[in-house]
């Protein structure tokens, strides 16, 4: 099989559309995962037994099932109960919830690392619970978590091709339709691989930097 540069060039506009959707899905999925994870971590610590147990079960449930199955539920089964989501929205929710259960664990560990004395000092100066979270706990807990959170975002990025299963026109899906149409897999799939490498490798280097920078807390 010969490498066909002409085909590569003709494919670029279509693949580019896929790249844009892949990046959108990763960006939106990350925001959702980082937010969902924080709320899950806080809810797991709730003094209310019902809230903390529900959050813990939710985490176990989501982690215990494959992302692909979750995506099928969100996109093909929720419409049966009247919830219609566009492919991208379903995909972002799937990624966000799934990875949210992992970031929740990172947040939990980071929050547990804050010394008890910080909570007590906050109480002694009469901060409310929400002020304590916002001013004292979260600002100290986040920096050491950044490498682990970034790691999950990179992992999520590499899983976005799963969204092609629910018809999201991300990079993988575009590449596959090109391949199917022209009966050539070599160029589109190579380009997909190269694209993921081009993003992953700098991300990993960036991650190492983050780890060095935040390996030690600032005190």
């Amino acid at each position: 099989m010969e490498w066909d540069w002409q085909f590569v060039i003709e494919s670029l506009p279509t693949l580019w559309q896929g790249v844009v959707v892949t990046i959108q899905a990763t960006a939106l999925g990350s925001v959702l995962a980082l937010t969902v994870g924080l709320f899950l971590a806080i809810m797991c610590r709730s003094p209310n037994w019902f809230i903390s147990q529900c959050s813990k079960w939710f985490i176990e449930f989501v982690r215990g099932t494959p992302l692909l199955v979750q995506l099928y539920f969100l996109f093909y089964i929720l419409p049966d109960v009247g919830i219609l989501l566009s492919p991208l929205v379903a995909g972002v929710i799937g990624l966000g919830l799934h990875y949210g259960t992992y970031t929740a664990e990172v947040y939990r560990a980071g929050i547990d690392n804050i010394p008890k004395g910080q909570w007590e000092a906050a109480k002694a100066v009469n901060l409310t619970k929400s002020q304590t979270w916002k001013e004292i706990i979260i600002p100290q807990a986040i920096p050491p978590m950044i490498p682990a959170l970034a790691n999950y975002i990179i992992a999520m990025f590499k899983e976005t091709p799963l969204l092609s299963a629910i018809t999201v026109l991300e990079l993988m899906n575009q590449a596959r339709s090109l391949s199917n149409f022209h009966y050539r897999y070599l160029e589109p799939m190579t380009m997909v691989g190269v694209f993921f490498l081009l993003i992953s490798i700098p991300s990993v280097i960036f991650l190492r930097r983050l780890e060095q920078r935040y390996a030690r807390p600032h005190h």
């Binding site: 010394p115 007590e120 000092a121 100066v125 009469n126 409310t128 619970k129």
Partner: protein, 269 residues
């Protein structure tokens, strides 16, 4: 006598099977400087922590200026205090910890202004002005923009004192505030406390192993053992003429330990 500012009424505190405070009662008068002394594990810290609402009561009642601390009235009955009630009661009380517990991600100035701004709604400008006055008082005005990590232990503790004072509590609790410090840094903290004692009419409760300081500073000393008050009185009486055998043997032990420590230091020098 005036209404006591703190009225502790038969409180008991258990951790599991361990009874730390056993049906304990005592009162503190407004403006009084009270030193709590006693062997390790006798429950001194626990008393302060209960007053600061960091630890719950097992049973009993505490009145602060005549108002229930851990309870509140609801439909003519006393029920456990809710968070809103505790929040209101905490306004009267401040605490300085053995290990400072400064907020490491905030500057010295922010450590002091944070709570007045958030809990009392003091405007930022005003909070900073007040914080600078307090930093002047503790001799650290030049450190206002530093992070706590760059301070010595003695400086950290002086910032912690300023942080607590910024909320203008009526009652200040000091839990062994010098025992995590290198010996040469103890005096700078004690002198700030001495100044506070002289210049304010705040009620101060301090737990300390610095017997010399307790003696100079306190109006009254309580000697604890196993969650009971063994003896209470003015410092001259407790330190020179204790009535109880347990007080005598405790003082003999700490005074000779203190002497040994001083001799060791002298030998090093």
């Amino acid at each position: 006598m005036a209404q006591p500012i703190i009225d502790i009424q038969s409180i008991t505190k258990r951790f599991g099977d361990l009874t730390v405070l056993d049906n304990l009662s005592f009162q503190v008068q407004p403006g009084e400087k009270l030193a709590l002394i006693g062997p390790s594990g006798s429950g001194k810290t626990t008393i302060l922590r209960i007053l600061m609402t960091l630890e719950t009561l097992t049973s009993g009642h505490i009145l602060i200026e005549g108002e229930q601390l851990w309870h509140m009235e609801k439909g003519g009955e006393l029920v456990d205090a809710d968070e809103a009630h505790l929040h209101k009661m905490r306004e009267k009380i401040g605490m300085v910890f053995q290990h400072f517990n400064l907020f490491p991600h905030k500057t010295v100035l922010e450590n002091i202004t944070l709570a007045p701004r958030l809990t009392l709604g003091v405007p930022a400008r005003e909070a900073e002005q007040r914080a600078m006055e307090l930093l002047d008082m503790v001799g650290l005005a030049d450190k206002k923009d530093d992070k706590p990590a760059s301070l010595s232990g003695g400086q950290k503790q002086r910032v912690a004192i300023a942080r607590a004072l910024a909320l203008e509590p009526k009652i200040m609790l000091f839990d062994e505030v010098t025992s995590a410090l290198d010996p040469e840094l103890v005096d700078e903290v004690l002198s700030v406390m001495r100044q506070l004692g002289e210049e304010t009419d705040m009620t101060m409760l301090l737990v300390t192993h610095e017997m010399g300081f307790a003696r100079d500073f306190a109006d009254r000393v309580l000697f604890f053992d196993h969650g009971h008050i063994i003896e209470s009185g003015p410092p001259e009486q407790i330190f020179t003429n204790p009535e109880e055998e347990r007080t005598q043997s405790f003082l003999r032990k700490v005074l000779s330990a203190g002497k040994r420590k001083a001799e060791k230091q002298a030998a090093v020098l």
